[in-house]
């Protein structure tokens, strides 16, 4: 049996990596922070909840269905709201408030759906439900502890292969880098963007259906995660897919580990401030490293920094020597 905080860290970090990857995909294409992204996660939560409670289908089996539903929601939001608005030349702020509106509308839809579940199947916990029991354990640990990181690995690898090896992926990169030039060479930029949104919504809903295997879900379950998801994406630089995966891992791990240390050292009252950790990381990233961790030039920092450091020392030594000789 592994310690609880280790498994917590693994699940949390992997799922936030998956969520941040999707958010970054939407940000890369439309350059709008998608405030409705948390609701795509909630779609996955409710898919897993409803199918498990009605049909006894394990969330692992229903994850593809969640993926499809999330993808449909995401694409219809893009085509039905954002593309119409951006074609009319709406400002960035107008697009942001539109995504917030879509999030509110989604909360309304989840409310209606949970009312339906309550009246039709008498699920009194359909607004706020406990984690769904895992369908298998391995070496005494719940299955999600293995499935979450493996899924993240597979998805990251698949996205990597897509972007580097396939024609569609190259077209995607071209459309992100320079949309007008991509149009000139005959890429259907709109279709590429739709594909990016499809993947984003799918990843969000998939991670949502895994999420409820470990933690409670509910109507605002996904919307409440936007602090972490945005923090992860910002930490990754908002423009780098791999950076966002790394950001998600760091956010998820630090939230669990810092909270554990704080709980052990300071007592149980610090528990409610857990969400402060991603917020602080986000603020610090924005103020210190606005382009995210992937913008750090490690080579320059460690390899090239030494000669300049040495020359600084040498200059200091010479000036000290001058001073001691009494020159000015």
């Amino acid at each position: 049996m592994v310690e609880a905080f280790v498994t917590d860290t693994i699940v949390y970090a992997s799922l936030f990596g998956l969520m941040a990857l999707g958010l970054t995909l939407t940000y890369l294409t439309t350059k709008v922070p998608n405030f409705a992204y948390g609701s795509f996660v909630t779609i996955g939560m409710y898919t897993a909840f409803a199918l498990y409670r009605i049909q006894k289908i394990s969330p692992y089996a229903s994850a593809p269905i969640a993926f499809a539903l999330g993808a449909v929601a995401s694409v219809s939001m893009y085509l039905g709201v954002l593309r119409i608005l951006s074609k009319r030349g709406s400002s960035l702020v107008a697009l942001m408030i539109a995504t917030l509106a879509v999030d509110i509308a989604f909360v309304g839809i989840f409310g209606i759906y949970s009312d339906y579940l309550t009246s039709r199947y008498a699920f009194i916990d359909s607004k706020q439900f406990y984690p769904i029991p895992d369908s298998f354990t391995l070496f005494g640990t719940a299955g999600i502890v293995y499935v979450a990181p493996i899924s993240l690995g597979i998805v990251t690898l698949a996205v990597f292969l897509l972007l580097t090896q396939s024609k569609l992926g190259v077209a995607m990169r071209a459309s992100v880098e320079n949309p007008s030039l991509a149009r000139v060479v005959g890429i259907n930029v709109e279709r590429v963007y739709v594909f990016a949104w499809l993947l984003a919504g799918g990843f969000a809903a998939m991670s949502g259906s895994y999420y409820v295997l470990w933690l409670p879900g509910g109507i605002t379950g996904g919307s409440n995660l936007i602090v972490e998801i945005f923090a992860a994406s910002v930490l990754g630089g908002l423009a780098s897919i791999y950076g966002s995966v790394l950001g998600g891992l760091i956010i998820g791990a630090s939230e669990v580990l810092v909270t554990k240390v704080a709980l052990d050292q300071l007592g149980s009252w610090v528990g409610i401030y857990q969400k402060g950790i991603p917020l602080i990381i986000m603020v610090v990233t924005l103020l210190v490293l606005p382009k995210g961790i992937t913008s750090i030039d490690w080579h320059r920092m460690f390899v090239k920094a030494y000669p300049s450091f040495a020359s600084q020392l040498r200059r200091l030594y010479h000036s000290m020597a001058k001073l001691t000789r009494g020159e000015s």
Binding site: K31, V32, P33, F35, V81, I84, L85, R88, S90, L92, V93, A94, M96, I97, A98, L100, A101, V102, I104, A105, V107, G108, I109, G111, I112, D115, Y116, S119, N224, I226, V227, F230, A231, V234, L238, G271, I272, Y273, K275, G276, P278, L279, M282, V283, L286, L287, P290
Partner: protein
């Protein structure tokens, strides 16, 4: 005594009082958002944080001050003994108008200070970040702030909430209708004051500077305008006023809890009002706030009549309806009901005179000495 006039089964007087009370609050908060987002170009997606902070601070501080002044024993745990303390305070306040008004003003002052401090903190990222980053940060910060409010009990007792002294009780006692009229007068006066203030600001040189900074930061900077300082001032002032609005709502409701202020009501609806009325136009925002409040109250009146015919909770339909309304406005009329206009800085009569003299320069030349020709 407030008269009762029935129209289509609706008590018109009651409806109007409720409508105008809510309108005053929405007007104040949306005017401050207009100052930030409309004029200064700072998209504040965390408005709920500033309103809730003012409300929590005022609700907690006013009761504690009253308990201290009246020497009521709180056993060192104000929120824990709230149900014993508040009735004693209320009983004392009904015979003490001076103390009631003092507590009201004290609560508003505390709310303004807390709002201003939070606004000052928020100004650090706001003057550095691009719109999208700032939006994310403020939205996340507001979310975190609500988690703190619901978890940290000494301020307002967490999600359970606390009661607030009834500072309007001295006026004709506790008669329900009369109290509401008094509240409406106080809130209406405050809203009018804020409207006049905002209108004065945007018509002043500062207002034109704000728009210049919003439209071209670089150009305004090259003309010697300190965009950082001006933006900081705008956020601090707007947040202080938002906090005061929150305090007034607290005194009106008579209680405050962590879940009284939701992102839907105090961030999203305020943005709907701004977009509906027209950003960077105070009259438009006033009109937008009125249309929105009227729609909201009308829906509130009729929605429970529909409830038996709909299998789901009508409140969820309201969420979807207002979201669709916002997106609809953005598509059909993105500038709102009253779009932004160049402000007339001089009275109309003076402007007319200037226009006339520029059209008819002959009259002017007659009165002036002959120009020198080079």
């Amino acid at each position: 005594m407030v008269p009762i006039i029935q129209l289509f089964g609706i008590d018109v007087v009651r409806f109007s009082i409720d409508l105008l009370t809510l309108y005053s609050l929405f007007l104040v908060v949306s005017l401050t958002l207009n100052l930030e987002a409309g004029y200064a170009g700072i998209p504040n997606f965390g408005k709920v944080m500033f309103v809730a902070a003012g409300a929590a601070a005022a609700g907690s501080a006013s009761g504690q001050l009253a308990a201290f002044v009246l020497m009521i024993n709180t056993h060192g745990n104000y929120t824990g003994y709230i149900y014993q303390v508040i009735p004693q305070i209320d009983a004392a306040l009904t015979h003490n108008p001076g103390l009631s008004i003092g507590i009201l003003l004290f609560g508003m002052l505390v709310a303004a200070v807390v709002g201003a401090v939070l606004g000052f903190a928020a100004s650090f990222p706001a003057i550095r970040l691009r719109e999208d980053y700032l939006g994310m940060l403020l939205l996340a910060a507001a979310q975190f702030f609500q988690i703190i409010l619901s978890g940290y009990e000494p301020i307002i007792g967490g999600t359970q909430g606390i009661e607030v002294p009834n500072v309007f009780g001295w006026f004709f006692g506790d008669e329900i209708g009369v109290r509401d009229v008094v509240v409406l007068l106080v809130l209406g006066a405050f809203a009018l004051l804020v409207f006049v203030y905002c209108e004065k600001v945007v018509r002043s040189p500062l207002g034109r500077t704000l728009r210049a900074i919003r439209d071209s930061e670089l150009a305004s900077r090259s003309l010697g305008k300190n965009d950082v300082a001006i933006r900081r001032k705008v956020i601090v002032v707007a947040s202080a006023i938002s906090g005061m609005a929150g305090a007034l709502l607290t005194f009106y409701l008579g209680s405050v809890g962590a879940e009284t202020w939701t992102r839907v009501t105090w961030t999203f609806w305020i943005w709907v009002i701004l977009i509906l009325g027209g950003a960077a136009n105070n009259a438009g925002v006033a009109l937008g706030a009125f249309s929105f409040t009227l729609l909201l109250k009308a829906v509130d009146q009729v929605k429970f009549n529909f409830q038996p015919f709909i299998p789901v909770d009508v409140n969820w339909l309201e969420y979807i309806m207002f979201a669709a309304l916002l997106i609809g406005i953005l598509v059909v009329r993105p500038d709102g009901i009253l779009p932004e206009k160049p402000t007339l800085t001089l009275p109309r009569s003076v402007l007319g005179h200037i226009m006339e003299s520029s059209v008819n320069p002959v009259d002017d030349e007659k009165s002036q000495p002959a120009k020198q020709t080079i």
